[in-house]
Symmetry: C2
Subunit: 665 residues, 2 copies
C-alpha cells in the first residue's frame, strides 16, 4: 500500500526494527552521520539485502561484508529489505560505519532487524479458492479479464430462531451460515513472538462498518465457536499472533446490496502497529489491504426456465387456479398457492414482489425484492419466502407517497441483448415512468436508485403513466424462441387490432359479436361494425398507439431491436375520466410465460365460425415460433378488477448461467 | 435522442405529420396495406426524400415520381426525411399506391408533411461561443480533446438588495447577473405558425430542478425583463413559436456545486408535442437534449501569486500587524484587516474559511468555502467577502459534532504534480484525518464528500490526529521555487532539530539558551544540553517523527516526490496529557507564503553569537532557493494560544491559468 518506509538511523546508536517481507525500509545515511564524516561503509547479515541509493543515481547492491567506502552525499539513502522471515527476534543486522577525511573511522550507526511475513488473502481470481498474496487483491475490475473478490449479502435466514435475515444478526448459529460467506485468510510468518510493543490489527473504514461483517472461527475443546470480530460497532480487532508459519481463517459477509450511496466495494485492512513506550500512542508501520465487491441483485427475464409459480387462492378463482395447474404441469414446474390467511384478500402477486437472485463464485441463491406497495400480501415474502438460502430485500421511501407505478407489474427485465456493439448479457431492466414534461407519476426514487446501483442490468425508463394502472407489463413482454434471436418482444397494438377488424369487416364479418359469455359489466351487444364506427374510440386508440409507439421506438433503440424482433398483438384501450388508458377487452400481452407455454388472458373477441378471431390471430402469430397458447378465462377474478392473468401470478426462475462479474457495465 | 419515429399510414386515408429536419420517420407499408394488395408504389414531392427498406435488404432511394412497383412484404417500411423547413403547413406529401395481383390499383395511403427545424444549442466546444447544433451537445467528456458545455454556480451576489447569493434567488436584477450565466439558444425554422395541436416545450428532469435555473430575456417596450422559466417548482416551459427562422436566447445558471449525490451534470430538453384532439393528452414526437457540467470549486496552493491577505485586528496584535504590513507590501499584494466588530474576538482567520475560485470559458470568479467551524468570525465571509463576482459556499453537518479537524488549517492543496505518469495540473487536496484503526477525529463527512466531488484536485487523506490541534499545516507546507521543480515541500522535523542541536553541542554551544525574550508561559532557562538530556522529550519526539514520517511516506507516494523535493525544518513537539502533540517552540513550518516572501514564526531557538541557530539553519535551507525569510514575533498573540502566524491569516490567490476541464480525473 505504501512506498518505502522511512527509518531514522543515528550515529552512536543501535536501533531495532521489524521488516515486513516484500517491503523496503529506506534510511537516510547523510542525516544519520556525525559531524566531520565524509564517507561511509555498510556491513550486513546474509538475511538482509541492502542497496545504496545516491541522489540521482541508480541503486547499487552492497555485498554483506563489503569493505567498500561510499562518499557521504546529501540524499544518500540505504534501501533495506528481507526475503526470509526471522526465526528469532533481531537475528539480522545492518551496520553503517562513518569515516572522516583520510578514512579513519569516527562512529557507527546500526539497526537490528526482525523479518516477518504478513499477508491478508482472498479469492481475488474468482475461482472459489483463496490464493496466496494475489497482487490484484487490493483492487477490483469488471469483465472476463477482471479480478477482485466477491461478497454475498447474507440476506437469507439459515435459522428459524433468528428474528430477521442473517445480515441483521451478529451471531452465527450454524456451519450453513458460513457457507454464504467469503473466506479470508491472514497468513503470518516469523519468530515465536513479536518483539515488545508490536501488535497486528485487522480493521475496516468507518463508512464500511454497516456494509460488512467478519467472523473468526475459534476451536475450543467444546466444539467450534464463531466470533463476530468486525462490523457494526467493531471497527478493529487485535489479532492473536502465533509464531512460525500461521494461517488464520476469517469469514466475510455483506450486509447490504449496492445503492446510490454505496458503490458495492468494501475494503479490509491489516496493519502492523508499533509503539515506543508505555503511554506513547501506536504508529502503523505496515498495512495490507483486500477489496471485495458485494454481489448485485439480479432479475430474471421471462425467457429463463420457470421453477415455481405463485398464485393467490381467492374465493372467486377456483376454476382459474385449476386451469393454471394444468398449464404449470405442462411446463414441468411447481404451483405454489398462497392462501387467504397470508394473502388477506390481496390477489396481485405480481405487484407485491419481484424474484431475482445473487451470485458469487462460491455460492448463489434466490432473493426476493419486496415492493413498497403494501397490500394484504405484505407479510407473504417474509413469512413464506425468506428462509435458508432464500434471501429477502426491500426498499421503501421514507416520506414519498406510493403510487400504482411502484407495483412490480411496472418492473420488468429484457432477455440478453446487444445494442450497437455493447453487450447486456443479463438483459436490461425496464421501468415504467412518465414524461419529464408532465408532473406525472414515477416509480419511487429509492427503488429506482437501488435498481440502477446494481449496474449489471442497466435500466431503461419507459413511459407507462398514460395507463390508468400504469404498468409496463400492460404493453410489452418477451417470449422465448428457439431460433437465432432466442426471443421476441410482444407489444399491445391498437393498430393491429383495427387492421384485423377492418379486414374481417371486408370479409363480411362486421356483425360478429364480442364479449360472448363475458362476465364483466359491459352487457350491450358489441360488433366489429360498432367498434369501427366509434370515432371516439378510434381517436383514443390512435393516441394510445402513439404512446405505445413512443415506447416501441425507445425499446428498439435501447435494446437494439428491429421490426422482425417485434410481434404486435391486437389490443384496444379506452380512456377514463382522467384521460388514462384502460384495456377495452382482456389485454393479451399481459400473459404469463412458462417456457414454451403461454397463459394468455381470454380476449372475448368477435366470434366467427365458432372461433374468436383475436385468439386465432394470436395463435397464428405465436405458434409458428414454437409457442403454445392457452387462453384463460379471468374476467371476473382479474380483468374486471383492472388486472390480468400475469398480475395475479409470479414466477421464480432459474438464474442466468452467465457470471455477472464478466459483465462490463 | 430517439431512433426513427414510427408513423402509422392507413390505406384509404391521408394523414398529416410534422417532420423534424435531421430525423427519420419510418412507416410500415405492409401494415397499412389493404387486403389483397401484393405490391405498392411511392410518389412524393421534391422536398421529401424517401427510402424503401425491405426486410434484410439495404434501403433504396425512391425518386419523387417513380413508376416503380415494389413487392409488398412483411416488414417493408418507408424511411421518410426532409432537408428543408416548410414555408407553409403541409407543403409536402408522400403517397403510397397499393396494387393487386396483375397490377391494378386498389387503394392509396398518404401523408402530408410539414418540415420544421428545431435545435437547442450551447457552447459544447468551450470556446465561449454558442455554435449551431453541435453533434456532441448531449454528452460531456473530460480532457484536452473533450467536449460539453459548462455552467457556473451563481454563488456570488450582484445586488446588495438580495438576501443571500444569486442562486438562492429566482429574480435577475441586472445584466451583470446574466454575465455569470451560460447562454443557450433555441433555434427554430418553419412556417408562420405550427399546425393545430402542436407545441414546443423546454423542460428539465425532476431531479435537476434544484440544480439549475433558466432565464428568458423579454424585450417589451419598457426595457428588458428577465423571466425565470425553469428551475425549482418550474419543470417545464412552453415556448412561444415565432414562424420563419427564429433564435430564442436563454441564460442558464448552476444552483449548487457537485456533491456526493450530484455528479455535476445537468441536462435540458426541448420537445415537440402533438395532440390529436381536445381532451386527449400530448405525446412528444421529437426531443433535443443539451448537457452542462457545473464548474467545480477549485483550491489555490501557496505557490500561486497572492492577491489579498486577510488578518484579524485584535487588541494584542498591533505590532504583529505592522510587521505583516511590511511583508505584504514587499510581496506587492494587499492587506485587509478584519476588525473587532466583525471578528468578535476570533483571530483564527485560517481556520474559518478557504479561498478558491470557479471557472468557465465565459467567466471566472473567486469563491470562499466557509468551514463548519463557527467562532466569532462566523459572519465574516458572508458580510465581508460575498458580493459582486465573489462567491460563497458552505457545507455543514446536520447532526455530527464539529472537531478541531474541521478547521481549514487542516485543509491544504499541493502545487501541480505528476505521479507515476498521472498528471494533477491543479494539484491534490490534502486533508488531515486519523488512522482508521483508532476511533479518532476526522474532518466531518459532508465537507470531505464535497471536496472529493469536485474531482479535479483528487484529495489525499493524511494523519493529523496525533496533534492536539490536529491540522496538516502544523507539519507540512509548500513554497514556490524558480527551478525546474517549481516548488519544495517543507516538513516539520524533530530529527533535523536534534541533529542540529547535537552538532551545536559538539561545537561547545551546549549552554546556549532558548526562549530569550520569549513571552510565553515557560520561564526557566532552557539550554541545548537540557533539551538533549531530556529522555522523555527525546522519546516523545521519536514518536512524533514517526507520525510525520508516515505522512512523509504517504506524500512522497501520492505526490510523486523524492527526497530532493523535501526540506526538513527543525521542530520539536511535546505530548499533552491526552498523548497529543503540541509544538515545543514556535513551529516554523506553519508559515505564511507570499510569492518569494515567507512570514515565519520566530522560533526563539538557542542564541549563539547573537543569532538564533534555528533561524540561521532555516535561512541556510530556504534562501538558496531564492526565498526571503522574515521571522515574526507571534508568541503572545498566536503561539501562546496553540496557533502560529499562518493560523491567524488567510490569503486569496490568483487562479490557475490551466483550464480545469482539460483535466482527466
Amino acid at each position: 500500500m505504501l512506498g518505502d518506509r522511512t527509518l531514522r538511523l543515528q550515529h552512536g546508536n543501535r536501533i531495532e526494527a521489524l521488516c515486513v517481507l516484500g517491503t523496503h525500509i529506506s534510511a537516510d545515511v547523510y542525516g544519520a552521520a556525525p559531524a566531520g564524516a565524509v564517507s561511509f561503509g555498510v556491513k550486513h547479515t546474509e538475511g538482509v539485502s541492502v542497496e545504496v541509493a545516491c541522489r540521482g543515481q541508480a541503486e547499487v547492491e552492497s555485498a554483506p561484508s563489503s569493505r567498500m567506502q561510499w562518499p557521504l552525499d546529501e540524499g544518500t539513502v540505504l534501501r533495506i529489505s528481507m526475503s526470509q522471515a526471522s526465526t528469532e527476534v533481531n537475528d539480522n543486522k545492518v551496520t553503517v560505519s562513518f569515516y572522516a577525511e583520510g578514512g579513519q573511522p569516527i562512529n557507527q550507526a546500526g539497526v537490528f532487524l526482525t523479518g516477518i511475513g504478513i499477508s491478508l488473502d482472498v479469492d481475488a481470481d474468482r475461482d472459489g479458492v483463496v490464493e496466496k498474496n494475489n497482487p490484484n487483491k487490493a483492487s477490483w475490475t469488471w469483465g472476463l479479464e477482471g479480478h477482485g473478490a466477491i461478497l454475498l449479502v447474507s440476506c437469507d435466514k439459515e435459522s428459524p430462531f433468528t428474528p430477521a435475515s442473517d445480515c441483521d444478526d451478529e451471531r452465527v448459529f450454524s456451519k450453513e451460515d458460513l457457507l454464504d460467506m467469503s473466506r479470508m485468510v491472514l497468513r503470518t510468518k516469523g519468530p515465536q513472538r513479536l518483539p515488545q510493543g508490536y501488535e497486528i490489527v485487522l480493521y475496516i473504514p468507518v463508512f464500511d462498518a454497516d456494509k460488512v461483517g467478519v467472523f473468526y472461527v475459534q476451536n475450543p475443546f467444546f466444539g467450534q465457536r464463531y466470533v463476530h470480530v468486525l462490523g457494526r460497532r467493531k471497527l478493529y480487532h487485535t489479532v492473536q499472533y502465533t509464531g512460525g508459519a500461521a494461517e488464520l481463517d476469517f469469514f466475510v459477509e455483506g450486509l447490504c446490496f449496492p445503492d446510490d450511496t454505496f458503490s458495492g466495494l468494501v475494503s479490509i485492512h491489516v496493519s502492523l502497529l508499533e509503539t515506543l513506550a508505555e503511554g506513547i500512542p501506536h504508529t502503523p508501520i505496515f498495512t495490507d489491504t483486500v477489496v471485495f465487491r458485494v454481489a448485485p441483485w439480479i432479475m430474471t427475464p421471462n425467457t429463463l426456465a420457470p421453477v415455481n409459480v405463485f398464485v393467490c387462492s381467492m374465493k372467486d378463482n377456483y376454476l382459474f387456479i385449476k386451469e393454471i395447474k394444468n398449464l404449470v404441469n405442462k411446463a414441468g414446474c411447481e404451483l405454489k398457492a398462497c392462501f387467504g390467511y397470508i394473502n388477506r384478500g390481496d390477489r396481485w402477486m405480481q405487484d407485491e414482489i419481484e424474484f431475482g437472485y445473487t451470485h458469487a463464485p462460491h455460492k448463489s441463491f434466490p432473493v426476493v425484492l419486496d415492493s413498497p406497495r403494501d397490500g394484504g400480501l405484505e407479510q407473504f415474502p417474509i413469512k413464506e419466502l425468506l428462509g435458508p438460502d432464500f434471501g429477502y430485500v426491500i426498499r421503501e421511501p421514507l416520506f414519498e407517497a406510493i403510487t400504482s407505478l411502484d407495483s412490480f407489474g411496472n418492473l420488468e427485465v429484457s432477455p440478453p441483448v446487444t445494442v450497437a456493439g455493447k453487450e447486456y448479457p443479463l438483459g436490461r431492466i425496464l421501468i415504467g415512468s412518465s414524461f419529464p414534461t408532465a408532473a406525472g407519476r414515477r416509480m419511487t426514487r429509492v427503488v429506482r436508485d437501488f435498481l440502477y446501483a446494481q449496474q449489471v442490468q442497466a435500466p431503461v425508463e419507459l413511459y407507462s403513466d398514460w395507463l390508468s394502472v400504469g404498468h409496463v407489463d400492460e404493453f410489452v413482454t418477451f417470449v422465448p424462441t428457439s431460433d437465432a434471436k432466442r426471443f421476441r418482444m410482444l407489444m399491445a397494438s391498437p393498430a393491429a387490432c383495427y387492421k384485423l377488424f377492418r379486414e374481417k369487416q371486408k370479409e363480411g364479418q362486421g356483425e360478429a359479436t364480442m364479449f360472448k359469455g363475458y362476465l364483466g359489466t359491459d352487457t350491450k351487444r358489441v360488433t366489429i361494425n360498432k367498434v369501427l364506427s366509434n370515432d371516439n374510440l378510434v381517436q383514443q386508440n390512435q393516441y394510445v398507439q402513439r404512446c405505445i409507439d413512443w415506447n416501441r421506438d425507445v425499446l428498439k433503440k435501447e435494446l437494439g431491436l428491429t421490426e422482425e424482433d417485434i410481434v404486435d398483438l391486437p389490443a384496444l384501450f379506452k380512456l377514463d375520466k382522467q384521460g388514462k388508458a384502460v384495456p377495452y377487452f382482456p389485454n393479451m400481452v399481459t400473459m404469463i410465460i412458462l417456457a414454451k407455454d403461454l397463459g394468455i388472458p381470454k380476449p372475448f373477441g368477435p366470434v366467427m365460425g365458432g372461433e374468436c378471431c383475436l385468439e386465432r390471430q394470436t395463435r397464428s402469430l405465436l405458434e409458428p415460433l414454437g409457442l403454445r397458447c392457452c387462453f384463460l378465462e379471468e374476467v371476473a377474478s382479474y380483468h374486471g378488477r383492472l388486472g390480468e392473468v400475469r398480475c395475479g401470478m409470479n414466477v421464480q426462475r432459474q438464474p442466468f448461467a452467465f457470471k455477472w462479474w464478466h459483465v462490463t457495465p
